[in-house]
Symmetry: C2
Subunit: 354 residues, 2 copies
DNA sequence: ACCGTCGTAGCAAGCGCTTTCTATCGGTGA
DNA sequence: TCACCGATAGAAAGCGCTTGCTACGACGGT
């Protein structure tokens, strides 16, 4: 039924060992023999049996890329870049080709662990974890343990846009983290500079690192401006990283403080929802109220008005993570690199009305 | 170093066969024995060796989901839904859990084939192909052949948002196709009804089925209104499915026909680019010119003005494809189901000025 | 009390490939 | 001319798991 190495060997009148060596190209095989084998492979339309070779060689060419939400371009862009870098990593001979697969955790710690186990099962060559992590002690411990297990099974572990795992130290090959705190700080400073004082903040899910860091940056800026204290809590609303959440949170913010002059959203998608809510309330942006996002996703520049936001080099980061995962690029010193964001001032922010 | 089935067996004082059966749960094992085994698994922190079991069982729990562009929510939504449906397909015992992985082809036929081969290598349980296909005879033949090969290796093949492969007939388990033609037609009819006559069309890449079908629908509507002929070609511009392409194409259309009263875009992303271009030209939407998109991606309702478009039930389609891939749902009669789009009339279209 | 059965568990033969070790052969330098 | 060597190719031993078949008690019907 299915063609095996032995069939190819028979056809090429050589031993299976020779065929294997031709295919893997890491052993001297006479040119004439090689050609004969290759022809047989072609004629028989032979396809290597992945599991069998993974079993025998104790390695596989699978690279897993874990994302929180595949429908969100934030992850899509990073994953696409990583996959690209990985697929083209060693385009040379067979075996150099890695299969990058992206796994959607939906933000659930359990699914993340499940996928990690599944990848461990497959003896994945590398794993790339993207996006913020959940800050639950149990989960962090479980993840760290799993990563350690993976690492000493030879799987490379790369973090992209996620803070280094505290306990997993040596397990992680490299960690690329975004400067969410700094970006959040600069964004709010921009608003403060424009003269805003009553600034609402729409945060993401409370337990995620990304959420916390961006919020911390915001608060640091507020406090530095003498606007700290309890007022901050009143003007902060948590929600999911989606449009709807931004819409609802904005309404809530307006309810708490009708004289709000600016809203900072956890990310661009949320900001879009916020804009919609504001418009529905009859408020003009930025005349009546300013809005800012985070990430600078592709659609943000086309929003009306164009969104002021913090640009994160998602594509570059993903590509770099991919290269680190394939070992094409050397890890940064210390294994950790922080990637900064760039403040993009656009039309959605302006001076407060009064 | 690594724990194997045999280790677990030794620890539980049973044979490897028994352990295997406990883990796969498809053979009677006494409760007490089972428990002992499970405990050993736990204590040893055993993880099944995927390749080994795939080799022995000649099947794997991998399901591949191929997408053209993972950074595009159009695909992200479908892929996420499929992955969800697949992962939760048989959450019962181990083994029922499938690993859905998404592979990003970047729209390249070669990469598509490469991934298909890679999945074939892994003896994937199923493959889901999403999005339009490239209409190149060679590639279609190659794909059909590959799918046939996969199919008779026992891999289920599901098409989602892609027209049935002509030559692959029996190879395909099920095909879910979007009624792009009908949607395109209705969209243009809507514009015609409003009174538009000079309607520009921004199409996607020429060689893709999705592009062709949507365009055909548009033209059918135009012709039915007596607006056929060569004028259509003049008012059609091809480009990629991205924002930038929409921007550029719009400028080109305006150059060709300054008196344009409406622009229909290949999809929402392109439409957004079109809106940006029009705004930059000082044109008001919909007062001076109407714009329509396709897909109804999440951000479309938040665009300003909200985008008139054709809603495609992306999530539902993806989920269904996932279920078909896992065999959780029976294929539609004939293996083919056409999914209709719903015209969403919003603020970006209105009566022409004059 | 005997034998067919049912319920469990073990044996052992692979699954298809990689890789170490060994064999072979045409040179080569002395 | 002969021992020796480099370059290739083959033999065979697994890699860790699944599964068909066999083995073995304990039951229950007659």
């Amino acid at each position: 039924m299915t063609v095996t190495l032995a069939d190819v060997a028979a056809r090429a009148r050589v031993s299976p060992a020779t065929v294997s060596r031709v295919l893997n190209g890491n052993y001297p095989v006479a040119a004439s023999t090689r050609e004969r084998v290759l022809r047989a492979v072609d004629e028989l339309d032979y396809v290597l049996n992945g599991p069998a070779s993974a079993l025998a060689a104790a390695t596989s060419d699978l690279v897993g890329v874990l994302v929180n939400d595949i429908a969100d371009p934030f992850f899509g862009i990073m994953a696409g870049a990583a996959q690209h870098a990985i697929g083209d990593g060693a385009p040379g001979r067979a075996g150099g080709e890695k299969l990058a697969v992206v796994c959607n955790t939906g933000g659930s710690p359990e699914r993340e662990l499940t996928y990690l186990t599944l990848l461990q099962r497959q003896r994945a060559a590398a794993v790339v974890l993207t996006g913020g992590a959940v800050e639950d002690a149990d989960h962090i411990a479980a993840t760290a343990a799993k990563l350690a297990r993976l690492a000493d099974a030879g799987t490379r572990v790369v973090l992209c846009g996620r803070p280094p795992v505290p306990a997993a130290g040596e397990a992680v090959t490299a960690a690329l983290t975004f400067d969410n705190r700094g970006g959040g700080k600069r964004l709010t400073e921009h608003l403060l500079t424009l003269g805003h004082r009553r600034i609402g903040y729409i945060a993401g899910p409370a337990e995620r690192t990304t959420t916390r860091h961006r919020l911390e940056g915001h608060r640091a800026a507020m406090e530095a401006a003498g606007l700290g204290g309890r007022g901050l809590d009143r003007l902060t609303v948590h929600g999911r990283y989606d449009r709807r959440s931004g819409y609802d949170a904005t309404l809530e913010l307006l309810r708490r403080e009708p004289r709000l002059t600016a809203v900072v959203a956890a990310n661009d998608t949320v900001a879009l929802g916020a804009c919609a809510a504001l418009r529905d309330q009859g408020l003009r942006i930025p005349d009546d109220i300013s809005v800012a996002g985070f990430d600078d996703l592709p659609f943000s520049v086309d929003a009306v008005p164009a969104l002021t936001t913090v640009r994160l080099p998602l594509y570059e980061a993903g590509a770099r993570a991919g290269r680190l995962a394939t070992g094409t690029e050397a890890p940064p010193p210390g294994g950790i690199a922080t990637i900064g964001g760039e403040l993009m001032v656009r039309a959605s922010t302006g001076r407060p009305a009064s």
